[in-house]
Homo-oligomer: 343 residues x 2
C-alpha cells in the first residue's frame, strides 16, 4: 500500500495552552505518520527552541512559517478578521487557500476561526454557511452520532438546515463509513406540527429528497440512542445541547466519585470503579473527545477545543488526516451538486 | 397551626395511564393532606368504581365533576381548544377560572393544556406568554435550579424573556425559599457579544433592573452547577436542553449497569451500586422528578409528565399545594407590577 502524502498546517499559538500543547502533539503526529508533513505557524523562536530540545528541528517533514500575531481567545471575530492578518491562525488558513496545505488545525478562538475560514476559504458551491460538526458518543459502543451546527451560526433558516443535513450525511458516510446514514432534525417534539416554521420547511425539503435518508424530527433524549446518525440543528441549539451534555456528565461523575468515597465496599474497589468511570466519561469530555470540523468550506479546517490537552490536539490532527484521505470537501461538493436539483 | 383549606382540581383522564395513575395518586394525597379537597374531573363510572373499590367514595373531601370528552395525547392544541370543551382537562381549568379550585393538575397533552390554560385563565397583567417551569436537580444536594421556558413557546422575544426572568425569580424565592435568586440567560457563550439580538436585548433589560439579581449569560454546562438559581431561555432551547439531560443520564445509567454486569467485584456489590445509581438518577428521571408548572397565568396549573407514574402525579399534586400556600400567582403579579416600571 502506498501512503499518500499529507500536508497539514497547524496553528501553533492557538488554544489556552498554545505551543505547550500543540508542539508535543505535532511531534507525536510526525513520529506516528511517516507520510505527514507539518507546516507550523507561530512564534519562530518558541517553535525552534521547543523542537530543537526534542531533536525535531531541523526535520525534513516540518516547515516553519513564522508569524508575529496571535488571535486571543477573547478577540471578537470581526476584530480578528480585520486586525490579525499576520496571526498564526490566519496563516494556517492562507496555506490551505494557497494549496500549500491540504488541511489546517487550530485550537484557537472558535468565532474568529469561523469568520476567518469563511472569509479566506469561502464556502463550497451551494453552501450558504459553514457549520461546526463533531462526532459524539452514543450508547452503542464504537458508534457515533454526527451533530451540526454546534455553534458556528446563531440562527439557521430552512435552506441552511437542509444544506447542513446533506453535509452531515456525507461526513457520517466518509468519516465513519456509515452507508445511507439516518438524518434527523432536532426539534421540541417528534410530531410534524412541532417546532418553528423554518424547521418544518427544512423537513419538507428533506422529505422530498430521495438521496437523503431523512427519518424525521427527534428530541434531545434521542441524541445518544443511535436513532439517527446525523442530527441537524441551528448553532444556538446545538451549542446549548452539547454544553448541557458536558454539564450532566460532569455532575454525574462528581456524584459517583462521592459515592466511591463514602461507601465501604465501593472504596475497596475504588480503583476499578475510577478506571471504568474515566473510560465511561472520556467521550463526554471535550478535552478528549475532540476534533470538531468546520465543513462546507473549500478546504479542511479542524477545530480543537480551546483547552485541549496534547491527546486532544493530536486527535484533531488525526481527524484532519482522515478528512484529507476521504476527500470530504470534494464529496460534499459532489453530493450537493447531485441533491440540490432535488430541492 | 391552623391548616388552610386547599381545593385542587385533577384531570383524571390525562396522561398515558389516565385513571390508573391519577386516582391512586389522588387517594394518597387525600390520606396525607387532611386539609385537601379534590375535585375529580373525568369519566364518572371509572372514577366511582375505582374509588369505591378502595373505600374512597363517597368521601367528604372528594367531589366528582363528570366529563364526557378526553383530550388525546396527539390532539393538536387548536383542535383540543375548539372541540374538547367537555373534556376533563378543560373542566379542571374552568374550575380554577370560576374560583371553585385554587389550582389544577394534569398529566395530559402539554400543547393542549398550554393553549386551553392560556385561553381560559388568561395571563397576569404584564405577562405576554405563560411559561413552563420546573425545578431541576443540581450538583449540590437539596438545591434546585429553576428553568423556563421548557417548551410552551417555540420562540420568545426579549420582552417575553425578561418577563420569564421575573417570574422565575419569584418561583425560586417562593417555592424554594431562595433569597435574592441569581438569574441567568442561557446562551451559546458567556461574553456580552454572544447570541441573538433578542437575548442581548433581554440582558440589557435585566441589567437595568436592580430588583432582579441578574448574573449574565451562562452556557449549557453550567445548568447544574448552581451558578444560577433561575435559568431563562425560549421554549425550543429549554425543551432540547431538558430532553438532552434525560438522554445523557439514560446513556450513562445504561453503561454503568453494563459495567456492574461485567466486572467481578462490581457484581458482588451490584445491589449497593444499583441502589445508589437509582438514587443518583432519580432526579434525572422525568417520571420521578416532576411537577412542571405553567406560570404567568391567573391561576395555578401544574403539568405532570405524560408518562407519570403514581409517585410522579402525587408529587405534582404536592407542587400545586406549595404554589397555593405560597400564593405564587399573586407574588408574580406583585413583582411584575413593581419591576415593569424599571424596564
Amino acid at each position: 500500500m502506498t501512503l499518500i502524502n499529507l500536508t497539514i498546517a497547524l496553528d501553533v499559538m492557538g488554544g489556552d495552552q498554545g505551543p505547550h500543547v500543540t508542539l508535543p502533539a505535532a511531534m507525536l503526529a510526525i513520529e506516528n505518520f511517516p507520510n505527514l508533513h507539518l507546516l507550523l505557524c507561530g512564534d519562530e523562536s518558541v517553535i525552534v527552541e521547543e523542537l530543537s530540545k526534542n531533536k525535531f528541528y531541523p526535520h525534513p517533514r516540518i516547515t516553519l512559517f513564522p508569524t508575529t500575531q496571535v488571535v486571543e481567545m477573547d478577540d471578537k471575530p470581526i476584530f480578528a478578521l480585520r486586525n490579525k492578518k499576520q496571526s498564526s491562525m490566519r496563516k494556517t488558513l492562507d496555506l490551505v487557500h494557497d494549496g500549500q496545505a491540504q488541511a489546517c488545525v487550530s485550537a484557537g478562538n472558535t468565532g474568529a476561526l469561523f469568520s476567518m475560514a469563511h472569509f479566506v476559504l469561502k464556502t463550497l458551491p451551494g453552501v450558504e454557511r459553514p457549520a461546526l460538526i463533531s462526532a459524539l458518543p452514543s450508547n452503542k459502543p464504537d458508534q457515533h452520532v454526527f451533530m451540526l451546527d454546534l455553534g458556528a451560526n446563531v440562527f439557521c433558516d430552512s435552506s441552511v438546515l437542509y444544506q447542513f443535513a446533506i453535509m452531515g450525511s456525507v461526513m457520517a458516510k466518509e468519516v465513519d463509513g456509515i452507508e445511507n446514514p439516518k438524518v434527523a432534525l432536532l426539534n421540541m417534539g417528534e410530531e410534524d406540527n412541532k417546532g418553528s416554521d423554518h424547521i418544518k420547511q427544512a423537513a419538507s425539503y428533506l422529505q422530498a429528497n430521495d438521496d437523503i435518508n431523512y427519518i424525521g424530527f427527534i428530541e434531545g433524549n434521542d441524541i445518544f440512542t443511535n436513532k439517527a446518525d446525523v442530527i441537524v440543528c441551528d448553532g444556538f441549539v446545538g451549542n446549548v445541547a452539547l454544553k448541557t451534555c458536558e454539564g450532566v456528565a460532569r455532575m454525574v461523575y462528581t456524584q459517583l466519585q462521592e459515592i466511591i468515597k463514602k461507601h465501604f465496599l465501593a472504596k475497596i474497589m475504588g480503583k476499578l470503579l475510577s478506571r471504568t468511570l474515566k473510560k465511561l466519561f472520556k467521550p463526554m469530555n471535550p478535552d478528549q473527545y475532540n476534533g470538531a470540523s468546520l465543513i462546507g468550506l473549500r478546504g479542511i479546517v479542524v477545530k480543537s477545543h480551546g483547552n485541549a490537552n496534547i491527546t486532544a490536539f493530536y486527535t484533531a490532527i488525526i481527524e484532519a488526516i482522515t478528512e484529507i484521505e476521504r476527500q470530504v470537501p470534494t464529496k460534499i461538493k459532489d453530493k450537493l451538486e447531485h441533491t440540490l436539483c432535488h430541492k
